[in-house]
Structures are given as structure tokens and as C-alpha cells.
Homo-oligomer: 112 residues x 4
């Protein structure tokens, strides 16, 4: 990756990471990931189905990697879903996409 | 589906629906879906990568179906991603999952 | 949905459906879904991460719904991932997309 | 990551990578990714909705990264979906999961 390209926070990445070998209650494991995300310093938003990170390619990859390394220490089977929206040169989309959507709809929408 | 089962709002469904034949800016089309979602009356939360609905199976399916019917009217190719978390008999998870995660982490997390 | 629109098998739908409360080995539950899919008569392809169905909107929805109804009978928490590729008026894409990709690459690719 | 852990091909990763700014026909861009995947030497299977790779964490990440670097050279907006199934110490699941499913169902299923 060119170094210049990797200075722009042009990546939105949503992910969820779930152990499959721990039964129906997985909040202990999810909380450890959230702690890593929150301490990373990257802009993020938690939602009921995952967490959205904003950063450069390297930044968001590093956070997902750290969560995985932690979880694999005591989980034997892990399912991960990742969705990436890359838009060249655009930053601030963690809040900007929602603002733009609300402006288009013409009224406030539920976001929290 | 048993009618009893379908009275409980035990489904969280996150989805995003994107036309592929309209270029890089798709906010006009996304806004129409958000209008449908907001008018549906179902509890929901918009995030930068999708929308999370809470409802019975039938309720959440109906909203996704309505958004699709609207978008296919003038879009020839559409990509849809859906993620469902079903938990028998549990309601209120649209807010409950986040509260429980914050309690486990022991400090507030960014959610809006 | 217009009845005419729903006669064309213009939807490709990939899905995976996993119980979260049954431990790391879920093949018994997955096999029941595969049995439903195979008996449905719809064109499909199984891959190591999910199953791709081809059909009308109603047809693919019905198969996913049947799998869910079966799984919820004895699973308390279920995670479902669905990805849809809709292309107006195009049929035969279950095999056509791969053939077209191989033609573009100019050599055979691993598909089974 | 411990070096030992990263010698085992215990990761199945399915992904699809689509430009959003190129109209409804994206096969030219998809073919370039498939060429990279096929030349990588990693075990993979192409299906109508994505490609499944089998490898170590580092191996599968590298292939996805190469495809992204190539696509971002001339695409301004890119959507990526990734699904990972990690199972500690298990190799050969690219073919093994399907064989096991067929054995459970008790008859051959469509896989190609």
C-alpha cells in the first residue's frame, strides 16, 4: 500500500466476532473486544449487531487483529463477519453518512 | 410459524441495501429505505453501515421487503446484506445488548 | 410485488444459519437445513461457508424460512447471515456468473 | 500472533469485493481479483457469490489485501464482505465441511 494512501481515514469497517463454543451467552467475550476497541483510540460506534470503526486500512485491520488474538486464546471456534465501505479520500464518514441520510430524509432518525 | 412465537419481538435484524447501477453516490436510494423504516413504527437504530430492526420475524421481514420493492422499481442491480440474531423469548435487545456490554466493560462506550 | 416480476428467477441468495447454543460442532443442525434445501427443488450450490440459492424472491425466502422454522424448534439462539444479489430479468446466474468469470480470467478456476 | 499458531491452515475466509462506481457490470474487476487468488497458491473455491480461501491468518489476509490494493487503483468506492470461520487446529475444512455435511444428510448435494 502506498504510504500516502494509508494516511487517510477512508475506511469504514463494521465487524462482529463471536465464539461458537461458549453457549448462547457470549457477552463476556464480546466485552473484551469492546475494551480493546475503546482503548485503541480509533473513532468507533457500537451498535446492537456490531461495531463500526473508522480509520486507515492499517488502523482498522490492527484493531480487528487484536480482538481476534485475544479471543483465540480461550475460544476454539470463532465466527467473524466484516463489512467494509472504502471511499477514496473521504474522511469523517462515521458521522457524515448518517447526517447526510437524515438531511435527505428531511427529519431526524433514531441513531442511539 | 406458530402464531404465539410470532408475537414476541425476539429478532434483531441488521441490513443494508445498495443499488450497484447508480454510481458511487447512493444516498438518494438509501434515504428512501430509511423513510420506509422510520414510518414502519418498528424500533430501529441507524448506524453508518446499516440499520438494525427489532421485531417479530414477520415484522422485520415486511420492512425489508418493502424497502426492496421500492428500490427495484428503478434499480436494476441491488446488493443486500442481512444479519439476524434470534434469541428465543428475549425482547428489548435493541437497547439491552448495548447496556449489557457497557456494564461488562465497566464504562460508557460510544454508541451515537 | 407484481406477479410478473415474481416469475423470474432473478435472485441469488447465499445464506448460513448457525445455532449459538450447541457448542462448536453444529453439523447436525446444518444437515437438517441442507436436507430442506435439497428437497426444495430450487437450484442451489453448497460451499464450505454457506449455500447459494437461485430463484424468485418468494422461492428463496420460503426456503430460508423453512430452515429457520426447523432450527428454532430446538435452538434458542440462532445467527443468520444472508447476502442477496438481485439483477433484473437475469436468470441462470448460479452457473453463469462463474462461467463468465472464468472466461474473463482466461483459464479454469477451482469451483468444487 | 504466536508463530506456531500461524503455521496451521485453520482459517476459512469467504469474501466478495465489489466496486460501487462502475455500474451494474463488474466482472472485469472481479476477474482481476480471481486472477490474484488463483495465482496465490492457496487452496480456494469460487462460488457464485464469493470465494472461499483456506489458510493461516496471515495467508488469507495477504490475498484479500492484494485484491484490495489492485482494485483501489482504479475504483473510488469499494464494498467488501468477509466471513471467517476459525477452528483451532483444524485443517482441510475447505473440502471436509462439505463431505461431513453430505455424510450427515446421507446423500450427495450439489456443490459445483
Amino acid at each position: 500500500m502506498s504510504q500516502e494512501a494509508d494516511k487517510t481515514r477512508e475506511v469504514l469497517l463494521e465487524f462482529s466476532m463471536t465464539p461458537l463454543d461458549k453457549g448462547a451467552s457470549v457477552s463476556t467475550y464480546v466485552a473484551r473486544s469492546l475494551d480493546i476497541i475503546d482503548r485503541s483510540g480509533l473513532p468507533y460506534r457500537l451498535n446492537p449487531m456490531g461495531t463500526v470503526l473508522e480509520g486507515t486500512c492499517s488502523e482498522v485491520q490492527a484493531v480487528v487483529g487484536d480482538c481476534f488474538e485475544r479471543m483465540r486464546q480461550d475460544c476454539e471456534r470463532i465466527s467473524i463477519g466484516i463489512k467494509i465501505d472504502y471511499r477514496r479520500g473521504r474522511e469523517g464518514r462515521l458521522t457524515g453518512k448518517i447526517e447526510s441520510a437524515q438531511a435527505k430524509v428531511g427529519r431526524p432518525l433514531r441513531t442511539d
